[in-house]
Subunit: 479 residues, 2 copies
């Protein structure tokens, strides 16, 4: 495995320098390229392939709940953005503004959408008239812009790709149900498709979305114990509806304001995939979104009949899987490390001796386990291997999250864990913003992640101020 | 059919006022909504559903030729746009410029991409090193912005959705092959998927893309005889490569410039669908992109067993088709005209008498033909009907194009046809820009559409100046 080593040396070790390890992977696995445009990235074919698989899977899940896709303009006139007070305060500081169009100075400047609540509301005001028009369950796939000072591929960029769902409902109850339903869709998607476990719950008042009444969040833990806000769903009540004068005639023949939600996930999820599953040899991709699920490597490919057999096998596998045959003139060892770097879940090796025995070798990316299987039921064995990889990846990530989750019942204990043990801290909280701010300041950035739906009773008092506790909160640093 | 009439009256007749008929349809079939943002439209679920089906079909065709999808930033720094002289001259006048980001004035203004040649070139300069890196066959699905004074939904808007392919090749020959191959992909797509025939060929020097050596085009004819530039493919030679210093080490170990192409189609195609196929009752959608392929309408739905049977039939049809059951309390006649307005290719009616006879009624949208078919092989019959609709739509559009294509062999004849008969004019041309400009001016906008690949010899001399003819050209007004 000399060649293998050679490539591996090119990546920084994960435990040595997590940040550098991350940027090494995004470059060497050819996920992104830096562009000349400040804070914007080029998503290369291999990175975009992951996004396409994410989109396909999520889009199906959305549509199964009755969601329809639409497309809104990418520009928001300043006056439209200003219609909802909290919302504009939250977003105005990070807007990019178009001030010149077609060689002329615009009479009103246009914001490049950072999110599209205002545009959806403007449209909903026109198309919602009676309760028969509700619910409206719309989503769009697009890019949004939030001007960032410091950026990191996938995690924080001035432009990123995402989906944003925006729905309108007759009652508050229905809207809250939708908010929770979509959070569940995200949670299922993370677990079933990305093999990523997470903590889910409600954001505190301090951490909720600009203009929302309540924000729910999914918070997976990266390998190094740092959280990533992996997706959020928001319940707006009728605040935007009032600002935008959206009304409907109810079943009682009176005018009412509809209740609103929005929810979104973005290309950040690719960052989560890298940081939850990757190792010192590179990416480890969840089989269900991997652009290449099977790398088929011929051994001694110059020998008669090897390549013919390899292509024959590939044709069979391509019916069910995304397969790449590498018949280039590079050595097998180089190819092994190349596809390990790219995180391909399963490698199939096929050489003259295997052909004689009507077998091949399946090697799993996650644990390097090697098995010999008959060519007669290869597709079945590959499916088994991919499922096993998925399950093992999930279990490993879950174990990491569990091991890196601590309980603090006193202020001193909280500070001690925050300083010495990366990960989540479970601790009781009085409900006051001041305590959140103090804990964040003294720990150098440990923030409330969420109030989980099932709270444990760890102690009676707030870990910060000692007053009676209202909630159990997950705390942690974040990307 | 009283109810039917009522809805139909709401649309302007196609022959009376084509422009108003068009805008009536886009509104009443709920394809778009106008937005408060100048020149930008909201694409509503039914319109976006057509676009999703277009994307799925085209994306498959692209990938079959080896194309990979990527995503480039939406912003182009002014200095980057200026790198290729002809290109910036063509696009700068219609750019939207971001001058403020995150509350600060930018040191360099950023153009919202009108097209992305420059961004692809900047990336290619970094990733192309040797002939082994070629070809690069990249595409992206995104929105672009071209500031427009007057706009019309789908046809001309300040922002629109499209795909843009950008490829790099070792030789000029390979690049030209790619340009023609992608034109063929568009032509096949228009015919096989949109049921739209078209003239294809090469643009004249005057009409080619800013910075291109050659532009090829597909030009379908709308029902009223006006052309729509339906898609273009460009061969750039190595002009951009030189401007952006993109080189590769060739098989001869020397440095060379690669040869480049780009190609794109946009949401304009939805405008083409409307204007080629629509009639006085509304949209007529090509079955292969229709969001609803089958509208299943219960007759006497209050009678016992009708709705049960309808849902049973729907479950069977949903395995193969996009089906909408309308069991609302509106009258069947209202529903008929609603789905006719929406251009649903096939309507299936099912009532108590049909159920007794184990049959149902299939009604085609294009010609209103009604057939009774057994429920035992309904899926097969629906497939037959959809294919028949597709073929008949194509033939009808082809007949329209043929009937509205004239030959002019003299200047007077050209002017006479231009004034009195809408459509394409085939006429000989000397190759000079002056004659193109003169013909356009005297006819109020008849421009060269393209030089077809198979030119006919109509006469020896240019229809405008009388000098020896070089080419046969299709001429016509355009959207």
């Amino acid at each position: 495995m000399a060649e293998n080593k050679k490539m591996v040396e090119a990546i920084t070790s994960r435990d040595e320098d997590f940040a550098k390890w991350y940027t090494d992977i995004v470059k060497k696995a050819e996920l992104v390229d830096y562009s000349g445009v400040k804070g914007c990235m080029v998503i290369r074919p291999y990175g975009y392939g992951i996004w396409e698989n994410i989109q396909k899977d999520l889009d199906r899940r959305f549509k199964e709940t009755g969601v329809e896709n639409v497309y809104m303009p990418m520009f928001i006139p300043e006056s439209l953005l200003q219609k909802e007070k909290d919302h504009v305060e939250g977003f105005a500081p990070e807007c990019a503004w178009v001030t010149i169009g077609g060689s002329e100075k615009l009479t009103e400047k246009l914001c490049v959408r950072p999110t599209s609540e205002t545009l959806f509301c403007e449209h909903y005001a026109k198309i919602i008239n009676t309760y028969r028009d509700l619910p409206k369950l719309y989503n769009q796939w697009c890019s949004v812009v939030r001007w960032e000072k410091t950026t990191r591929p996938f995690l924080r960029t001035s432009e990123f790709l995402w989906q944003e769902g925006h729905t309108m409902h007759e009652t508050a109850e229905e809207a809250i149900d939708e908010t929770l339903k979509m959070l569940k869709v995200y949670e299922d998607f993370y677990r079933e498709t990305l093999a990523i476990p997470a903590v889910v719950g409600k954001k505190t008042e301090k951490e909720k979305f600009a203009g929302a009444e309540a924000t729910y969040t999914i918070e997976p833990m990266m390998h190094n114990g740092v959280a990533l806000q992996g997706g959020t769903t928001h319940y707006f009540g009728d605040g935007f509806a009032k600002s935008f004068d959206i009304t409907y005639q109810g079943r009682d023949n009176k005018l009412h304001y509809p209740h609103q939600t929005s929810w979104g996930v973005s290309t950040r999820m690719i960052g989560a995939i890298i940081m939850v599953h990757g190792d010192d040899d590179g990416l480890v991709l969840p089989p269900r979104v991997a652009p290449i699920q099977v790398a088929l490597i011929p051994i001694a490919q110059h020998k008669e009949g090897v390549l013919d057999k390899v292509y024959e096998v590939a044709d069979v596998l391509k019916k069910d899987f995304r397969v790449k045959v590498d018949a280039s003139d590079k050595a097998p060892g180089w190819k092994f490390s190349e596809y390990e770097m790219k995180g391909v879940p399963v490698r199939v090796e096929l050489g003259p001796k295997d052909i004689e025995k009507n077998q091949c070798v399946i090697v799993r990316r996650d644990n390097r386990e090697k098995i010999f299987v008959s060519l007669d039921n290869l597709a079945e064995e590959v499916q088994k291997a991919l499922d096993a990889v998925h399950n093992a990846m999930y279990e490993k990530a879950l174990k990491n999250m569990q091991e890196k989750t601590s309980v603090a019942t006193s202020y001193e204990e909280f500070l001690d864990i925050a300083e010495n043990k990366p990960g989540f801290i479970k601790a009781m909280w009085c409900g006051e913003k001041e305590c959140e701010e103090k804990l964040k300041d003294v720990t150098g950035g440990v923030k409330s992640r969420c109030i989980p739906f099932e709270e444990e009773h760890l102690s009676d008092t707030c870990v910060c101020c000692g007053k009676p506790a209202k909630h159990m909160v997950y705390w942690g640093k974040q990307y």
